[in-house]
Amino acid sequence: MHTAFIQFTEVRKKFGSLVVLNGVNLTINKGEITVIIGKSGTGKSVLLKHIVGLVQEDSGQLLIQGEPLNRLPRKKALQFQKSMSYMFQDNALFDFLTVFDNIALPLKETSRISPSILKEKVHTRMSQLSIEGIDHKYPSELSGGMRKRVALARALVTNPEVILFDEPTAGLDPVRKKNVHHMIREYQKKFGFTAVIVSHDIPEIFDLAQHIAFLDEGIIAFEGSKQEIMESDMKSVHGFIRGKDIRNE
């Protein structure tokens, strides 16, 4: 039995006159992989950024284990934020830091651990993600796939309870996409974190998902399992997963 870990209730957000989220209701369960799909520009990343606090809702509520995030006691809110990692679409690696320093950054800046433990933790993650021996390289010297793995290592190094992935496979070839999906699945099994993934990789991403949400025109138009979404007779869902725009038909 899963517990509602993160819950969006009637969340609305607009930028200027552009309404992006128009009453989103979504439940993210603890220890599950939730995948958010939807057309480009429908606000999937904005939805994700609400969880991590990069964007604030105009109205509605974001509940964390039943309590509104903006009304959590400071200590508890901080604890929640610390339990999260965010993997950006373009990795957001620091160009002026080496691979080692990029991965070590969240530990180095937020905790006072000894250099030897820091080194051990970073190297453990690097070896788990098969990126050993590139400690002194800079992100610009790496391939797209390697950069993704460095970003994933940075996201995992703090042992987060929740990892938010914003299009983790954008710009990768099919083989590397498969590898990233495999990596997420394996590490989610291994570490048991809650994962929220924004993705366009349909239908491959469905194999990874335990829960799928379809964001359309500012609302979650559909929620369910892989089987339910594949069997859905909703025109918008049906059209989207088969690559058809029903409004143009």
């Binding site: 990069l54 965010y86 373009d90 957001a92 620091f94 160009d95 937020t110 703090t158």
Partner: protein
């Protein structure tokens, strides 16, 4: 009163007031973080290397030629009044009180300030600053605080270097090129300059360090808060241009204000 009138007035005054508030909050937050542990000594040293050490060559070059021009112009002006002996005093006081701090600050703005704005602007556009937030790292502490400490330490030292090289440039023009007595030149330099002039110059360079670093880092940090169509590469280039122009203007305004109170 017509609601549209109130909205129009608000539309004119609210954005600049918000911007000023944001600027001073940014400055305050950055300065506050200087005194919070752990201190960022390593990062400060990196930025001293970039702002200070790497600026030495252009400071030497501009200081030397500024001093030489002052020596040349000063000599031909003073000689018409038969008071060319005052050249040493004129060159050294002009440099130490005014040109040293001002030109040093402008040269550092052009070399390091523009780079600060562009680097932080790119960090903003490529979501590196958002990444810091998600990692629970204070982004102002990370990008701004070490730079302001490095600037406060580097600006006065570079100004001192500019002054010394400038006085030497005046000597090259006045004594070696135009044949003025070397001893008279140096004697006038030593007798004319007093400690208050030197402290005044250093005080100016400290103020310029705060002004330049804050404007350049602020412009880069908020490069995403621009007009429509000014995002991405254009946003960064505009942020950099604004940082340099505004820094130079503020240097001159602050120079006038400080001079007004010091004279």
């Amino acid at each position: 009163m017509d609601i549209h009138f109130i909205q129009a007035v608000g539309g004119i005054f609210v954005p600049p007031i918000t911007s000023v508030g944001r600027f001073f909050s940014f400055f305050g937050a950055g300065v506050w973080q200087i005194f919070t542990t752990p201190f960022q000594a390593g990062k400060v040293l990196d930025h001293i290397w970039f702002i200070g050490a790497k600026s030495i060559f252009i400071i030497l070059l501009t200081g030397l030629f500024t001093g030489m021009v002052l020596g040349l112009q000063g000599y031909y002006t003073l000689v018409t009044f038969g008071s060319e002996a005052a050249l040493g005093g004129a060159v050294s006081l002009t440099l130490i009180r005014e040109l040293g701090p001002v030109l040093t600050a402008i040269m550092i703005t052009a070399r390091a300030g523009s780079a600060m704005a562009a680097e932080i602007g790119v960090m903003r556009m490529s979501e590196q600053i958002d990444a810091l937030v998600t990692m629970q790292i204070n982004p102002i502490r990370f990008v701004f605080t070490p730079r302001i400490v490095a600037a406060v330490l580097s600006f006065p030292l570079l100004t001192a270097l500019f002054d010394i090289v400038g006085v030497f440039g005046g000597y090259l023009s006045g004594s070696l090129l135009l044949g003025m007595n070397e001893a008279v030149y140096m004697d006038k330099v030593i007798r004319s300059v007093n400690l208050a002039d030197i402290w005044g110059g250093f005080f100016k360079s400290l103020v310029f360090a705060l002004v330049v670093t804050t404007i350049c880092c602020y412009r880069g940090y908020y490069s995403h808060l621009t007009q429509q169509g000014e995002f991405g590469a254009k946003g960064v280039s505009l942020a950099t241009t604004r940082a340099v122009v505004q820094s130079c203007i503020c240097i001159l305004i602050c120079d006038y204000i400080i001079t007004f109170f010091l004279v």
